[in-house]
Symmetry: C2
């Protein structure tokens, strides 16, 4: 028993098996339980074994589990694909790990209303492949779309590279069937773009990191698939030249790209070294990858050319490449896409950060990050979705030193980094969430009034603190 | 004293004057208080005089008022422009009417980040006129944009005609400074497109109808102003022909218009009769007004032609007119824009409804509405934003009868209408809100679990039920 919770007994395991069936309860087998003990957050200290894993198959089963857990004072942690980056699906206090992996059906594609209805365990890319057959697409998706579940995207309000034009996941969530912490099932919203029938419970649930409810059906808005998609790679001499053109694309050209990705000099170097890419990027101190889409190929191409000119004239761009079609696009994305892998190959990743600032402040962020990396003797390469101000700074142990200083002083480094972000009008998570990884830093960002309001809502919906405790605040 | 609230005494008026100054407290003068006793909801029964009107000038003043009100158990009702259509700003239990009319400054236009920071009392159109000078626009605005306040739009999550492409007001609210019901000031969100630092309090506040907080600063996302804007008027032989082409525009042509407005045969007739418009619309049983925008005039025009062809081939359209520039556009919008005025001239408006259904079900709605109008002996013309499924059905006393049956049986009629809407997968308010006008009907739409969750949130943030009581549920 910890924090007032009770242990999972054989008797409770029996009751759980009565609810979901023998086969979908894992108990007493550490090897089978291990995969459910962590997500993709760097650092073994964020992992925690649940006492029992339950793979639920329906809202009714989840409701019964939540009622049992409330009665017996056992914490329940919901889990999607486990691709999260803040420990949201980690069972901090043990208890029941509730996996949604079995609930993976695409229930309906309603073409006329541009709506999909899915269960939470559908892989994001599977949904996109399915709706593309109908000339549609689901615009709310993160970079991990090949593995992540739609339910997790909704729970974390995932963003990704195309939020500049398309916004984040929440914008596409029209309705939810959700099991509340006390075990009752509620339906909020529906196949409606407009709905002001009471509070916006749908958007309160979105991004609540599995602490306010467990989604069992998700109604998503789809969009017509744009007929043309053209990407551009632009090489700049340095970071500030690259970053200063980003707002100009929108304010001077009045063009909203679907995405604007950025890599700084160090992340570019690490990725190029990893790939053995010698020539293509030589001399570049930063790159932008601009994604454009629309219905008229000629117009999209014309806009790409305008952006190319702007980059050359106002940012002193060294070179730019336009890519149409998957083969060419894969080529210009190669360096950006391998960055994570290249970091891992280089050294121990101490932390993957998810800062967000007003887009025009990223230019102030980069030199300050460099100064911090020198101060703490770590590498801090940056890439990110600069069109929406979201910068992924990764903190890597310097491979040229044996010193553990970077790791030991990580909390001090993060505190400085977060205070800097706040000073620039930003915050510590744009799309990965708080989970238990960033929880201790929340008071740096939010005052007691703001935190109290959130805690009051949590306590109102989950009076016994049964659902995903130990997260956010 | 009613519902546990205390009356506003001379002593309390004195304290209120200490907070906001002598000049901005109105007490004991019914003539001056009268304008604050109602909004634009039809029906004198929805009006109610406050005991005192206070025109606050800052978050600090509002905080002090809320603390006083909590201490003295006096209800507080916030009010913007009073252009609401569900009684949201009506002080149901008397008490303090808190007007935001003095807080009307545009605080900042941040061009680089495409953000505006405003006080709640800014008139929506004033903001748009201001940002247009910078080649920007604020896309979340309702039809009443010439009078409504931004604060009210946020409180009601206002929609309007352009939600098809641009979504509703909430999509453009990035941050809020808000005085909570207990009088503390909180800041949620900021100049950030992405933000998952804790619960999405911003979107919970949006559409909460002034029951969860009083906005004192609003951070709005702006968009680049499209360079081309073309409208189209299309005449159809009947309602179902017009409605069946609407989803095809998006699914077959893959074009998302900024708006698709609809008028049925009766609303068209009433408006044409009122304007003395004889020839232009003869033979038309329904019209669509399609709004298109984009950066390339030729492409927008080309898309208009495609839509025109689709309307002719698949909807048997009788005629279509393309309008560029304000003069031409005003001409084709004339009939739609005068509809409200024409209804008022025709007879007593019993109720203005705000139904929303999945867009492809509007075609089932219209004949059912006609059947109800016959059953209850009232006129029920419809217009609305059919691109997003939002149908404004107006219930008008038949001018050819003296019978009061329509008025007496209004609750029965509304119950039937709402149940029909629910059956079609819809709900009773898309953009006007619940207020106290529709409150009694909420249990037709939401179950006890859903209502309880909303009530729990209200009670958590406003334990004494001081802020805008008597609304929504």
């Amino acid at each position: 028993m910890q924090n007032g919770y009770n242990a999972v007994t054989d008797g409770i395991v029996r009751l759980l098996k009565d609810i979901v069936g023998e086969r979908d309860v894992i108990f007493g087998d550490d090897e089978l339980i291990m995969p459910y003990s962590h997500d993709e957050t760097h650092g073994a200290e964020y992992a925690r074994y649940p006492e029992v894993v339950v793979r639920a198959g329906s809202a009714a089963e989840i409701g019964a589990i939540m009622k049992l857990a409330n009665k017996e004072m056992i914490p329940v942690t919901p889990r999607g694909a486990g691709s999260g980056l803040s420990g949201g699906a980690v069972p901090v206090y043990g208890g029941i790990l509730l996996s949604l992996e079995r609930m993976n059906r695409i229930l309906e594609i309603d073409r006329e209303n541009l709506v999909a209805v899915v269960e939470p365990g559908v892989i994001t890319n599977d949904l996109n492949n399915r709706v593309q057959q109908d000339g549609l697409f689901f615009a709310g998706y993160p970079m991990s779309l090949e593995t992540c579940f739609v339910g997790g995207n909704v729970a974390e309000n995932a963003g990704g590279g195309r939020a500049v034009k398309y916004g984040v996941t929440g914008r596409y969530v029209l309705g939810l069937e959700v099991v509340l912490p006390t075990g009752d099932t509620a339906v909020f919203g529906g196949k409606r773009v407009k709905d002001v029938t009471g509070y916006n419970m749908v958007q309160l649930m979105v991004g609540s990191e599995g602490t306010l409810g467990i989604f069992t059906k998700i109604i998503l808005k789809l969009l017509p698939l744009p007929k043309a998609k053209i990407d551009m790679l632009v090489l700049f001499p340095d970071v500030s030249s690259a970053l200063k053109v980003v707002p100009l694309i929108m304010t001077e050209l009045r063009i909203i790209p679907s995405g604007v990705e950025f890599m700084d000099s160090l992340s570019l170097k690490i990725a190029c070294d990893y790939l053995g890419e010698k020539k293509g990027y030589s001399g570049a101190g930063a790159i932008l990858l601009v994604e454009m889409d629309g219905n008229d190929r000629e117009q999209v191409l014309e806009e790409c050319l305008q952006i190319g000119e702007l980059c050359a004239e106002r940012g002193g761009a060294l070179d730019s490449f336009v890519a149409e079609g998957p083969a060419e696009q894969d080529k210009i994305w190669r360096v950006r896409k391998c960055a994570g892998e290249a970091y891992t190959a280089l050294g121990t990743i101490l932390s993957a950060e998810d800062l967000v600032v007003p887009p025009n402040r990223i230019v102030d962020m980069i030199p300050a990050v460099e100064a911090l990396s020198q101060k703490y003797g770590v590498l801090m390469p940056s890439f990110g979705h600069v069109g929406d101000g979201n910068l992924h700074v990764t903190i890597i142990k310097d491979p040229n030193t044996q010193s553990e200083r970077g790791k030991e002083q990580l909390p001090a480094l993060l505190t400085e980094l977060y205070l800097l972000t706040r000073e620039l009008g930003g915050t510590i998570s744009g799309e990965h969430g708080i989970g238990h990884k960033r929880k201790q830093y929340m008071p740096l960002l939010l005052g007691e009034t703001e935190l109290a309001a959130m805690r009051q809502i949590k306590a109102a919906l989950d009076p016994k603190n049964i659902l995903n405790p130990g997260k956010i605040f």
